[in-house]
């Protein structure tokens, strides 16, 4: 239980590559807030980008800095309620001892986007693990602010599934954006934790053919286990010729880009059929150069951006609880907080690990 004046172990980000394991005070609940003891918190590619000083997070000549150090990183968390501020229990249907997750975004509730329920595109959003008002889950305890979107998580879910609720919500939203129809040939590129989650979600839509792409065979093996009908490795297989053969030369109906690399975009524009649905999910390492004509005059494509996991958390929790959504093999490592640096390096290299969890 949190006690007044108690302290806890936490990782704090001060500057790129300056992250420190420290003792800081356990947060106290204010009205409407939930305090949880963190059970586990994943390391996201975004956390790695932040660690290495990515300008989309730290700012540059054209972009403001988003991260507000010192801050506890981590937005893929699950925890157990230890204290409830006034009104929080009734509002979220929680009591002390319950397991609970909060969406990674804390929306303002007072902008045009929030007004229309498009809270995930909130103008004045706070994202856990980057902002002073939304300290993250790489700590023993954390605060879900009053504006957070909090859901109870059944005790039956194992830790390695409960900690995947956040990435799976993002995967589910991306798959929803693709509007898969029965019979569609669906290609998902990039079998990181998010891409693998997309394979698991797309499986539930029962497309005609579900194809996973990645450069690493061990990730493709997991994709097969999660429901891919076919896997292709662009470093070995002629993906363009293969997709052409499988679709009578038309191309795939839906392409979901989750590689983080410009090649993933270029390949997709090449192998998608005319009037196909192209979903862009990646945070790309560098700008993509492409003949933009392909969107209009050549293929009349539908390009859908995908950001966060709006309205998907309750669905993910439900599908996981009912055993419909597979996740076997996505979590590869669970490390103590003190090994956070090792965890970041593992995710950065991505050779053996897929999802690495920190377990405070």
């Amino acid at each position: 239980m949190s006690e007044t004046g108690a302290s806890m172990q936490a990782v704090r980000c001060y500057a790129p590559e300056d992250y420190r394991l420290e003792r800081i005070p356990v947060p106290e609940p204010r009205p409407g807030e939930v305090i949880v003891q963190v059970e586990a918190c994943g390391i996201c590619a975004g956390d790695v980008k932040c660690f290495y000083g990515n300008p989309s997070i730290w700012g540059d000549a054209t972009r403001p800095r988003y991260v507000q150090p010192p801050v506890v990183p981590g937005h893929e968390f699950v925890g157990r309620v230890v204290a409830l501020g006034e009104g929080a229990g009734e509002r979220f249907g929680l009591k002390v001892g319950d397991r609970a997750v909060a969406e990674q975004i804390v929306p303002c509730g007072r902008c045009r986007m929030c007004d229309r329920g498009m809270y995930w595109l909130c103008r004045d959003r706070e994202i856990f693990g980057f902002r002073e008002k939304a300290q993250g889950g790489w700590a023993q305890y954390m605060r879900y602010p009053a504006n957070a979107r909090v859901y109870r998580v059944p005790d039956s879910l194992p830790t390695e599934q409960a900690a995947l609720i956040e990435p799976l919500a993002c995967s589910m939203h991306a798959v929803d954006r693709g509007q898969i129809q029965f019979g569609d040939v669906v290609v998902i590129a990039g079998m990181g934790p998010l891409g693998l989650g997309m394979v698991a979600c797309a499986r539930l839509k029962n497309p005609g053919l579900l194809i996973a792409l990645d450069l690493r065979d061990h990730r493709l093996e997991i994709a097969k286990r999660l429901g891919a009908d076919m896997v292709l490795n662009p470093s070995r297989d002629d993906v363009r010729a293969e997709i052409k053969r499988l679709t009578d030369g038309y191309g795939c109906d839906v392409y979901i880009e989750a590689t983080g690399h410009p090649q993933g975009v270029l390949l997709g524009l090449d192998i998608i059929r005319k009037a196909g649905n192209f979903v862009e999910f990646s945070v790309l390492q560098e700008p993509v150069t492409v003949d933009w004509t392909i969107l209009g005059d050549v293929k009349e494509l539908n390009v859908y951006g995908s950001h966060l996991g709006p309205y998907c958390y309750p669905k993910v929790i439900d599908y996981l609880t009912r055993g419909l959504l597979k996740t076997d093999g996505i979590v590869t490592h669970q490390l103590p907080l003190s090994d956070f640096r090792h965890g970041i390096e593992m995710v950065h290299e991505g050779k053996e690990s897929i999802k690495v969890l920190l377990v405070p």
Partner: protein, 346 residues
């Protein structure tokens, strides 16, 4: 203050009541004009309100008299109109900004005191400022104008060149016709059974305004037998519902806007035609309102008045002082004379 108080079904009295006081986050509005909605007549004389005594009236505009604690967006003297639906903010409809679908709403003029009175209290977030150049009479018609706009938006709007048929030429039907014109409809037909309404529609520039008994024949001749792209049922009468369905072309849209006055029996042939022609039916209810956005029905209606896209003043057939409104409401119920939009002036 003076108010029209409904004590029981049909028991409407002009009397003195205490002036309401604005609580935290609420505003006291001095009512300038309050329109009589078609629904007010059955509410007062047939169905009753959700509780008694109650002050009806939900289509109004006025001037801010006093602000409760914490009010920031308006100040005394501001000209305002008010979205009369008070939403809970805690249900799934509210989360998406679909306040009119709120599961636990309250309502000025049917569930709590409305604006057939000198003053009314409303939450700050329900107030919209009236733009310069829009009179308070016009602003009092924002609610029906928003309802009319919402009905066409439900059907995906009107594309330039489309034919729109409107069954019922009351204030809302005439507003739907004006919105259809703004959206670029090439032909707009209005049908009613009251000669004065048909004449008013023609004065507003809608030359295709006819008696309802000729509706199917007229639509056929205007569309080379194909039918209208959009049919709006704005009377709530069984016959007009059937006409609206019969006049829709293959793939057309039918909007159900009028509050139903009775059971309708759909003939087998028409039922089958609705299927064969893949006609789309849209229910519409109330209107969309937003606090932090400006592309909702209410802000759009006020902008349309300011830009001159809507001519609402010709719809006003009567302006009556509050002290004489009981008499007028009885006359409306009994159908004594021709009424279009009636504005009560406290």
């Amino acid at each position: 203050m003076n108010a029209l108080v409904l004590h029981a079904v049909g028991d409407l009295r002009y009397e003195q009541v205490p002036t309401p006081q604005p609580g935290a986050g609420e505003v006291l509005v001095r009512v300038a004009y309050c329109g009589v909605c078609g629904s007010d007549i059955p509410r007062i004389f047939v169905k009753g309100t959700y509780r008694f005594p109650l002050i009806c009236g939900h289509e109004f505009a006025g001037v801010v008299e006093r602000c409760g604690e914490g009010v920031q967006r308006v100040s005394p003297g501001d000209r305002v109109t008010v979205f009369p639906l008070l939403w809970c903010g805690r249900c799934s409809a509210c989360e998406r900004g679909r306040y009119a679908q709120c599961e636990h709403y309250d309502y000025l003029g049917s569930r709590r005191d409305g604006a057939f009175a000198e003053y009314v209290v409303a939450p700050e977030r329900n107030l919209l400022k009236v733009p310069d150049g829009v009179s308070l009479q016009e602003a009092a018609m924002t609610e029906p104008a928003a309802v009319a706009y919402h009905a066409l938006r439900r059907a995906g709007g009107v594309a330039p060149g489309e034919t729109v048929a409107i069954f019922g030429a009351g204030p809302i039907g005439l507003m739907v016709a004006q919105w259809a014109r703004v959206m670029g409809a090439s032909q707009i037909a209005l049908f009613d059974v009251v000669d004065e309404k048909i004449a008013l529609a023609q004065r507003l520039g809608f030359t295709h305004a006819y008696h309802s008994h000729r509706a199917e024949e007229i639509i056929a001749s205007l569309t080379q037998g194909k039918g209208a792209h959009v049919c709006v049922e704005a009377a709530g009468v069984p016959q007009t519902l059937l006409q609206a369905c019969a006049c829709a072309r293959s793939g057309g849209r039918v909007v159900l806007l009028g509050n139903p006055a009775g059971d309708a029996t759909v003939p087998t042939g028409l039922w089958s035609q609705l299927m064969r022609r893949e006609v789309n039916l849209f229910g519409t209810w109330n209107s969309e309102y937003a606090v932090y956005s400006e592309d909702d029905d209410w802000h759009t209606a006020l902008r349309a008045m300011a830009e001159g896209w809507l001519q609402l003043m010709p719809l006003v057939s009567h302006q009556v002082p509050l002290s004489e409104a009981v008499h007028t409401l009885h006359a409306m119920r009994e159908g004594k004379g021709f009424f279009c939009k009636v504005l009560i002036q406290p």
